[in-house]
């Protein structure tokens, strides 16, 4: 936009954009506000100004042991992401730097596994988990999350690695770097940003995964998704407490998410939109 925009037009656009943005954000905002209300306040009609109590947050911990599902979420999302990276990095690396005629087919096939509807394999997975004693275990769910996100991880890494220009590798070879030195001094530093982006996006995806994490856990390994879903049973109108639990469940990932807008586009469209 080289030309100057009239201030009037900019102000109009600003107002419209802010109104739209606030409407979209409103449910989250209202949840945060409600979490700071007392229970009677929470059901006393529309009110944007809470009394500012923190007792709900304390109650969520003391009455429902919030920390346990929270730790499960952290362990499961980080664990499955690191596992997926360990498996995917060599593969993506090989496909990006020594591609063959079949590389494209392999990538497309990996993508296709992502399209299998989860419910279609619910029964066998459930039975296998039951028979192997993996139901409600962190290990079982970690493996599950690793598998369902592996295609996206491979794809994201592949698109990042492929952007490392070939001439740089050739330059390092001319400069006398051996394979090991090439990896340590040239490739790794250039690949780290891509790996970090992949890590970030995958943690978000694993944290929010709400099919397997609800179906394959009950109490011990239940992450926040399952914990929150259990609030759906009508135990009563503890809305302020519910709001506090919700706020705590989404806050960490919301903040991570704000930092990963670009990677999100790329990762979720398999590199088709950048």
């Amino acid at each position: 936009m080289a030309r100057s925009v009239t201030t009037g037009r900019k102000i109009t656009a600003t107002i419209v954009a802010w109104v739209v943005a606030l409407i979209i954000f409103f449910p989250i905002l209202y949840t945060i506000i409600t979490s700071l209300k007392t229970e009677p306040e929470a059901i006393a009609g529309f009110n944007l100004i809470p009394s500012g109590t923190f007792e709900n947050y304390i109650n969520v911990q003391t009455q429902s042991d919030y920390l346990k599902p929270f730790m499960n979420s952290v362990i499961l999302s980080v664990g499955s992401t690191i596992l997926a990276l360990i498996i995917a990095i060599p593969g993506a690396w090989a496909m990006a730097f020594s591609p063959t005629k079949r590389t494209k087919d392999v990538l497309m096939w990996m993508l296709s596994t992502k399209m299998m509807p989860a419910v279609a394999v619910l029964v066998p997975i459930y039975l296998l988990f039951r028979d192997f004693g993996l139901l409600d275990s962190r290990i079982g769910l970690t493996v599950m999350l690793t598998l369902i996100n592996l295609p996206i991880v491979v794809w994201m890494l592949y698109t990042y690695f492929r952007e490392i220009p070939g001439e740089i590798l050739e330059a390092s070879r001319m400069d006398g770097a051996g394979l090991w030195q090439e990896i340590v001094y040239v490739l790794t530093p250039m690949a780290v940003p891509g790996i970090a982006s992949t890590l970030l996006l995958n943690i978000i995806l694993a944290w929010n995964e709400s099919f397997w994490s609800i179906r394959l856990t009950t109490t011990n390994a239940a992450p926040l998704t399952a914990f929150i879903a259990s609030f759906s049973s009508p135990q009563g109108l503890f809305w302020a407490k519910l709001s506090a639990a919700s706020t705590m469940a989404i806050a960490p990932i919301l903040i991570l998410g704000w930092f990963s807008q670009k990677q999100l586009v790329r990762g979720l469209t398999f590199g088709a939109v950048k």
Partner: protein
């Protein structure tokens, strides 16, 4: 530099990912296929053996089946319509120079990071609750009778919640695409006398076509399997009014303990997903050739 040696190494490096995904794809799917032709009920061990197409017939003749297919289509179609149209509109809005663009972007993108059970609970209790929700408060203010959304319009309510979750995704991708539109092209069109409407039809929309395709296909993959939102809000009801295919299979399998029937439903879901997948793979595959 592809000597025989590096080729072998490359294969070795790819092996873990490929093998894992191969097992992950084949084993459960083969089991589902096998179960779908068996009499297998977790509550009734006495019934077993080959069932032929009985499970498919059972699933197919269940009135809930067609209802759930219809509901699946309504959810996918409704959400796509809202998110694509809304995404283009908001994308165009955010592509303008505005004050506080960074914060506006963050606000708009946020719902995408809200885990589905939380999204469903917020909407169910804080927004759409007939007694204490914000919508009810607004209705009361206007002197109207509050609507019991999940009893009266269960499917529509679910569409709204899911659309709220996916609108940011569509917006973000379409905005990214809009920003990649060459501003000289826009200026050239302006010089050629095209007004805003014409620029949108002849310049912006064709430029967005690819991204819109990608948004539609990727969302469809996820929308076919909407689950947590239904579980938390309506639990598929009233009756089967808000049960989609995914939820029906879950009901058959884990509430009805009918492994055979659920497996048959699973195979049907795979076939449906494959139809979408073929189109998505084409769109993404083209990108590889660039």
């Amino acid at each position: 530099m592809a000597t025989q040696n590096t080729k072998t190494l490359a294969r070795l490096m790819m092996a873990p990912s490929v093998l894992l995904l191969l097992v992950w794809m084949i084993v459960p799917l083969a089991m589902t296929l096998w179960f779908s032709f068996q009499n297998y009920n977790l509550l009734d061990p006495s019934s077993d053996g080959f069932a032929g197409f009985f499970n498919y017939e059972f699933f197919y003749t269940d009135p809930a089946f067609f209802q759930s297919i219809w509901n699946t289509l309504v959810i996918v179609g409704g959400v796509l319509l809202i998110t694509v149209v809304g995404g283009i509109a908001i994308g165009l809005l955010l592509d303008q120079p505005i004050f506080g663009q960074g914060i506006v972007r963050i606000l708009v993108i946020s719902p995408f990071f809200v885990m589905p059970p939380v999204a469903a609970l917020i909407w169910k209790n804080l927004i759409m609750h007939p007694g204490y929700g914000v919508f009810a408060d607004i209705a009361n203010l206007l002197g109207l009778q509050p609507v019991d959304w999940f009893a009266q319009y269960p499917l529509f309510s679910i569409v709204i919640i899911v659309a709220w979750q996916w609108l940011p995704f569509a917006t973000l991708i379409l905005l990214t695409a809009l920003q990649s539109l060459d501003s000289e092209q826009k200026e050239a069109a302006e010089m050629d006398g095209a007004n805003f409407f014409n620029r949108f039809i002849y310049l912006v929309l064709p430029h967005l076509a690819r991204s819109i395709t990608v948004v539609i296909l990727i969302q469809t993959i996820f929308l076919l399997g909407v689950y947590a939102e239904i579980l938390v809000t309506t639990n598929g009801g009233p009756g089967y009014a808000s049960t989609n295919i995914a939820f029906l299979i879950y009901r058959t399998a884990l509430l009805g303990y009918d492994v055979g029937g659920a497996s048959a439903g699973g195979i049907i879901a795979v076939i449906l997903a494959n139809i979408v997948a073929i189109f998505l793979m084409r769109a993404v595959g083209k990108n590889l050739d660039r």
